[in-house]
Symmetry: C2
Subunit: 421 residues, 2 copies
């Protein structure tokens, strides 16, 4: 019987591991609690009504349909029996493994204030994105019907907490929606009066970029109409708004892009973890004392970038998944020496609205419209399948030329414009 | 001040009324409880994972953005004060009207068995469609993990209640999904073993078509692998399955396409109605005793098709909306004589899978692949906007050529494959 490789999580890391094992004499089971792989780098575009959900997600079993040795299970894992080498499912069933790859990613985190989550959703899943889209669009709808100026102003105040790439991209996209796409659609409000406020506790946005790209992005966001508040920590999120730097701000839409916490994978297998729940792994990405368990992507922490921690981005997860596949292949050939992982950083990128971006390749920095085109082409290239590349390219081209967004649908939940309070 | 026309419902009828009033010296308010107009004829394709939600729905306020005299309100109506001429909203607000157009459509109905709804969802809204898609896809997922043969068979049994166009289209699409699109994606089940059972209480499917087209559709469905049960009424729907013709059938997915009931518009305005809740209107589509209130589309019943009732289809609602607009224009010019509505039937059409359809234009009948192409082109033509025509054409072309469905996403609700029982 062939060795059984079980991969938990069908994100960038898990899928790369499965791809890297193509043709290897193993059977593979991919377990995910959702039926689709999600292209998270474009998720903010679903949240801001630019792309449709189906354009950035693919059913996992469809992606591996031609790999007869790969079985896909839609199932929820809630433990790992490392002694008997079983992945435990929440319905009592289990899946045996010889080699286990834990690649279950991260969720947003609220620095100990989980009670903020209902008021400040984060952006990790398709449901998160449609929730954010619904809240943004409903707030404009409610403002259109609101006579009281203070309440209307609160409905037209959008707060984004966190100045990393996701926060910057959300703020830029909402500002464009309010200032360029929606004004002609409303009669009682001027959507250009909407305030988009990006709050960052640090002293600059995009701290992982160089100072000059960060300053460029700052200026580009301000040109789009975004207000940026630096050095201010948020101390409260509620249905009324936020408190930051000690000052209250009435806002009906708060989006959270400030922190992440690893999934429970480390706890399942009782592995040592850091404060953010990330498993501390050996240089070869295995769990300490468990050479048969690999932990990769946002679920793991490893200083494999010239001594620095590997960043929580898609290319890093992919590199780790492929590295795991190589290590498994080496073992199948009888090479059991440790195979340390070294991260190769290809660059940082972030977009600001639909005509500007910043890219830091290390050896060269690009910004402005050229960076935007590189960013767009790179993302289309990394999408899976010709069909989705065509669809996303068509969506972007359409918006670029006509300014009309195609995906302003309010779905799920109560469609009625009632305030949550 | 210009006369105020209030249109409740942004379906085919309501939008046609608004379009027909372009340039007229009136102000218009469109009220809908959803933010989008929905192209219901293609909704079954969202339910069966062929099209994405955004391809068949458009935000209402975007559609009328260039009509400065038109205001769009996302609001829930719960009454009409016919004395003071106010539409009452559920938050206590109201909207004054001089002329009111009620075009609020219909929901599916369960012949007095509303308790069946949780087990047998119907197909009227985008949420209905994503619910149906989730149930169909989850049932295959659960079957893949189910060891017990009887339970697995129940998970792979899909019952569609009602043999009209919606039931026929759902049955054909599910059969294609099971027999052509999904087989290579599963490892433990053969999706071709799935049973798709269409139950119709009458003596033939598509009763609104001629006998020969009905027989052709019957044979085409059977070729696709659909089992058709005629002359059998369903007497029970539950989490276990259905009882029809006195016999129980274990089935985890039941879809309801058997009956509709008008929305509450007749009750709001205290208008006389038939058993299905449809307002009985005058020959000119006005409510009896209320020449300032029009009721159109699925919300109304009128024998304006050479003495027969107007059918509940999109072209009929559009014709009525345009007729109302003409009547209002005539009144603005001082012509107050009744303007009776006469329905012009352009045809019946239904598709069976992706290569066959039946069309009855009256003067000519078409069936098979030619009918499918006519059906497809007609639907693309009637979609709103170049963008969506391109997107739907691309989706169909892709499926036609590759056989890969693009929209097999399980979203909303609990994504985990737990049985409801």
């Amino acid at each position: 019987m062939k060795p059984q490789v079980v991969i938990v999580g069908a994100g960038f890391g898990g899928l790369a591991a499965a791809q890297g094992l193509a043709g290897a004499p193993v059977t593979i089971t991919i377990i995910d609690q959702r039926n689709h792989h999600l292209f998270q780098p474009l998720l903010y575009q679903v949240g801001t009504a630019t792309l449709a959900t189906s354009e950035i997600a693919w059913p996992v079993r469809h992606l591996v349909r031609n790999r007869k040795e790969v079985t896909t299970l839609l199932a929820v894992v809630n433990g790992v029996d490392t002694v008997n080498r079983k992945v435990l499912l929440d319905d009592g069933a289990s899946v045996d493994y010889d080699t286990l790859v834990l690649a279950t990613g991260a969720r947003h985190a609220y620095f100990g204030h989980d009670e903020w989550e209902p008021y400040a959703p984060g952006l990790k899943t398709l449901e998160d994105a449609t929730t954010i889209r619904r809240r943004i669009l409903l707030s404009f709808e409610r403002a259109e019907r609101e006579a009281d100026p203070a309440r209307r102003a609160a409905l037209l105040t959008f707060v984004i907490v966190g100045g990393g790439p996701t926060g910057v991209e959300l703020a830029g996209a909402i500002a464009e929606l309010a200032h360029h796409n929606l004004p002609e659609e409303f009669r009682h409000i001027d959507t250009r009066q909407a305030r988009v406020i990006l709050i960052e506790a640090g002293r600059r946005i995009l701290p992982s970029f160089t100072e000059d790209l960060s300053a460029y992005a700052h200026a580009a966001l301000v040109r789009l109409g975004v207000e940026i508040q630096l050095g201010q920590a948020v101390s409260e999120c509620s249905g009324e708004g936020v408190i930051y730097g000690g000052q209250p701000l009435a806002a009906k839409v708060i989006l959270w892009a400030a922190g992440v916490r690893a999934s429970s994978a480390a706890a399942w297998a009782d592995l040592p973890a850091d404060n953010a729940g990330r498993a501390k792994v050996e240089p070869d990405l295995t769990a300490p004392g468990h050479p048969e368990i690999f932990v990769i992507g946002d679920t793991a922490i490893i200083n494999a970038w010239h001594g620095k921690p590997v960043p929580g981005i898609a290319p890093a997860a992919k590199q780790q998944g492929l590295h795991v596949a190589r290590t498994i292949r080496m073992r199948l050939h009888g090479h059991s020496a440790p195979n340390p992982f070294h991260y190769k950083h290809s660059g940082n990128l972030a977009t600001i609205g639909k005509r500007a971006a910043v890219i830091d390749f290390g050896w060269i920095k690009v910004r402005g419209w050229l960076a935007w085109w590189i960013w767009g082409l790179a993302h289309i290239y990394f999408l899976i399948g010709v069909r989705n590349r065509l669809a996303v390219a068509l969506s972007w081209l359409w918006i670029y030329v006509t300014g009309s967004r195609n995906s302003c649908l309010i779905t799920q939940g109560d469609p009625r414009p009632k305030p949550p309070d």
